[in-house]
Symmetry: C2
Subunit: 411 residues, 2 copies
C-alpha cells in the first residue's frame, strides 16, 4: 500500500464533467489500495477571472486582499471534487491551506512554504478518506492567507509529498505526457524522457520548458521526492524526475531548452577602471531587473565592451538606466538588440565528458548560425543567437546530440 | 467615538461599483471618528450560482463540502471591499470566519454561533483599520468551515456587535428603509416604525415580514444589542430594534403581519379517546413537518373535529399521513384546504390592554371575512382566513388599529 500525492492542474478540473472524471480516476487508485492525497488547482480561467475582478476595483490591488480573493479558486475546486467523490460512494475531505496547515512566509502573491503539518491529513487517510488539498495557498505566522504564485500548486504537491514521506508525487499535466528532450512543437522528433535528474529538470524548467514549476523541482531535490510527470488524459508512461544516478551520466545531453524572452544590451568602449561594472549594474539590480548573462571583453587601450542580457519586458527600462550611466562614466555608446534568443543543451553527462561545447559550436557553425554570447555551468551550455535562427538551432542541436526519435518522420 | 458594526447584504455589494460605493460610505463613518466593523454578504446571485455548480456535481451535495464552497462567496466580497478601502487611502483588513474566529456548532448549512473572539478585531481597530468580516460563515470545533444558513450574515453582525460590545449594529437593507407596520405593497398606508421591541420584531419576522433574520433578533434580544435597520441607498431614518420600554406599551398594536405559506387539514368525527391526538400528530412530527396552529372542537357524542395548519410545501405529505391514521382510528373523513392565509396583529401593548381581540374580530366581521381558526400569544393574535381576503384583511386591521399613515393617500 503506497501513499500517493497527485496534483491536477486547472484544465484537468476545468469543468464539472472533468472534475467528476478526475474523481473517478482517483477512486480507482484508492481502490488499488493506495492512500490518496490530491492537490487541485483552480478551475481553468478562474484565477484570471478573479484577477480581472480585482482590477475592476483598482489597478493595483492590495496584495494581502488579492491573496484572500485568489484563494477562493482552489477552495471551490476541492469542495466540488470532494462532493463528487462522496457522491460516488467513497469518503473524502477537502482541506484548505489553513486547515492542513501549510505554513508560509509573509510574502503575499509569492509566498514560500516553510513547513507542512501532517497530523490532520494522516488522520483523514487513516479513516480511509481521500484527501483533497487546495493547492497554491498557505497561511503565514499572523494567520493571514498567502498564495505561492503561478504554478504554486506543483510546489504544494511536492511539499506535501515531502512532509508525508509519500512514495511518489504524481504531477498530472493537461497539455503534455511528460518531459521531452525539447519542445515537440519546434522539433517534431522530440522524445519523451523516461527519467531526468532534478538538476537537469531545474535547468530545463528555468530555460523555458514549462512542465514543472522551478520551486517544485527545488523542493523535490532538497527532500529527494520522486516526481512523476504524466498526462491526465492518457495512461501512457510519463517522466520520472529523480536524483542523479550513475546511468544518467552515460547520456551526454538530455535535452535542448530555449528562451525567446531575452534582449541584449552592449556598452561600447567603457573606461576599464575598478568600480565601473558596479556603477553600471547597481541601478539595474536596484530596479529588480534580473541580468542573465554578462560578457566583458579583454581590455584594449584601457577600454572594454560590456554586453549582458535582460528579459525582453525590462529592455527599455534597462536601456534608459544604462544610457545615463554610460554618459557619466564616459563610455562611447550603448547598443540594444531585442531580436535575440537563447538556446541551451542540458545534461549531467557533461560533467564527465569533454568536447561537448565544441560539438555544439560546430553544429551551429555548419548552418552558419552566429554565436553572440556563451555561458556555461556544470551541466549546461547556453548560447545567444539571432532570434530568427532559434527553431533551426534547436533542431540542429537535437539531432547533433543524438536526441532525435528516429521512429518519427519530420512532419 | 463609537464602535459601529454595519452589515450590507448581497444586493448592496452586488457589483464592483456598489462595493466601491459601500466602501466610500464606510470611510465617511470612519472619518467621523467611529471604529468600523463591516459584515458583508456574498455578491448578489453568487450563493445561488455556487449552489447550481454543486448541483451539477450531484443532486444532493455533501453538506460539509457545500459549506466550503459557499464560504467563498463572502470571502470574495470582503477581499474586494478591503481592496477598495485601501485604494481610497485608508487602512482595511478582511477577516474570514476562521480568522476572527467565529466558533459555531457542527451543523453544516445552518450552524449556530457559540462564541465570537474579539482579540484580532480589536487589534485591527486599534491600528485604525476598517475591518471587513465575511458574514454567514464560522468554524466548528474540528476546524471545519460552517455556514449559518440563509440570512446568516445578519446573525454574524449581531453576534459580533454583542461580543465587541458595539454601540450599535446597523443592518443596511437594499429593499426597504426599515421595519414597517405592514408590507407597503399590500397596504400603501403602511408606516415606517421608529422603534420596535425585540419581541415584536420576532413575531413580525416569524410571521413573514422578512426584514431581519429571526436568529439575529433572538441574538440581539439575548445580549441586548441595539439593532438599527436602515437603507443602503438613502440617509433616511430607519427603525431601531431595542428592548421593550414603558412607552411602547402605550401603542396597542405595532404591526400587522401575514403569511400565505399555510394550508389547513381537518379530520372530521374523530373518536374522542385518550391518545388519539398523539396517534394523529406523531407521524407528522416524525416527518419533520412543522405544525403551526391546532384547534380541537368540544366533543359531541364522543366525536370531535381536529383542525391544524402546516406549511403549503408539506400539505400533500401531511394529507397522505393523516388519511392513513384517520382510517386506523375510525374517523369520518379528512379534508384539506390550501387556499388559506394567516393574518396577525402584533404589539407589546396587548399585555396591558383588554379588548384587542374583539376589536380585531369585529373589524373583520364588518367586511364579512370569516375567521376559520384563531391562536393567541401574549403579544400577538393570529387568525386564519380564506386566502383571497388576505390583502383586504391586512388593510382593514391596519386602519382599525390606527396604523394608517394619514399623510399618504391610497394609491
Amino acid at each position: 500500500m503506497a501513499l500517493v500525492v497527485q496534483k491536477y492542474g486547472g484544465t484537468s478540473v476545468g469543468t464539472v464533467e472533468k472534475i467528476k472524471a478526475v474523481a473517478k480516476k482517483v477512486i480507482d487508485y484508492h481502490k488499488e489500495g493506495n492512500k490518496m492525497v490530491v492537490v487541485l488547482s483552480a478551475m481553468a480561467g478562474r484565477t484570471d477571472g478573479l484577477i480581472r475582478l480585482a482590477r475592476q476595483i483598482c489597478s493595483d490591488p492590495d496584495p494581502r486582499e488579492l491573496d484572500v480573493l485568489l484563494a477562493t479558486g482552489e477552495q471551490e475546486s476541492v469542495a466540488l471534487f470532494s462532493m463528487a467523490v462522496k457522491d460516488m460512494g467513497l469518503e473524502a475531505q477537502s482541506m484548505l491551506g489553513f486547515q492542513v496547515a501549510i505554513h508560509t512566509d509573509h510574502i503575499f502573491g509569492r509566498a514560500k512554504i516553510n513547513q507542512v503539518e501532517t497530523e490532520r491529513i494522516m488522520k483523514a487517510l487513516n479513516d480511509n478518506k481521500i484527501v483533497a488539498i487546495a493547492g497554491f495557498q498557505g497561511l503565514d505566522a499572523y494567520g493571514d492567507i498567502t498564495t505561492l504564485g503561478r504554478g504554486g500548486s506543483d510546489t504544494t504537491a511536492v511539499a506535501l509529498a515531502a512532509a508525508l514521506k509519500a512514495d511518489v508525487c504524481e504531477i498530472f499535466k493537461d497539455d503534455v505526457e511528460g518531459v521531452y528532450t525539447t519542445n515537440p512543437e519546434v522539433c517534431p522528433k522530440a522524445k519523451k524522457l523516461e527519467m531526468i535528474s532534478y538538476e537537469e529538470m531545474l535547468e530545463m524548467a528555468s530555460l523555458g520548458a514549462k512542465v514543472l514549476e522551478i520551486r517544485a523541482v527545488e523542493f523535490a531535490m532538497k527532500y529527494n521526492v520522486p516526481v512523476y510527470v504524466r498526462s491526465t488524459f492518457s495512461d501512457k508512461r510519463g517522466t520520472m524526475v529523480v536524483a542523479e544516478t550513475k546511468d544518467m551520466e552515460k547520456v551526454l545531453v538530455s535535452g535542448v531548452a530555449y528562451s525567446k524572452n531575452e534582449s541584449r544590451v552592449t556598452i561600447r568602449k567603457v573606461p576599464d577602471r575598478p568600480g565601473v561594472a558596479s556603477r553600471i549594474f547597481e541601478p539595474i539590480f536596484e530596479s529588480g531587473i534580473v541580468v542573465d548573462m554578462i560578457v566583458q571583453n579583454t581590455s584594449e587601450d584601457g577600454l572594454t565592451d560590456i554586453t549582458f542580457t535582460v528579459p525582453k519586458a525590462d529592455f527599455y527600462r534597462t536601456m534608459k538606466l544604462v544610457t545615463e550611466v554610460a554618459q557619466e562614466i564616459g563610455a562611447e555608446k550603448v547598443m540594444g538588440d531585442e531580436d535575440i534568443a537563447k538556446v541551451s543543451i542540458v545534461g549531467v553527462g557533461m560533467r564527465t565528458h569533454a568536447g561537448v561545447a565544441n560539438r555544439m559550436f560546430a553544429a551551429l557553425a555548419a548552418e552558419n548560425i552566429n554565436i553572440m554570447m556563451i555561458s556555461t555551468s556544470e551541466i549546461k551550455i547556453s548560447v545567444v543567437i539571432q532570434e530568427k535562427y532559434l527553431e533551426l538551432a534547436v533542431r540542429i542541436l537535437h539531432k547533433a546530440f543524438g536526441l532525435d526519435d528516429e521512429t518519427r518522420t519530420e512532419e
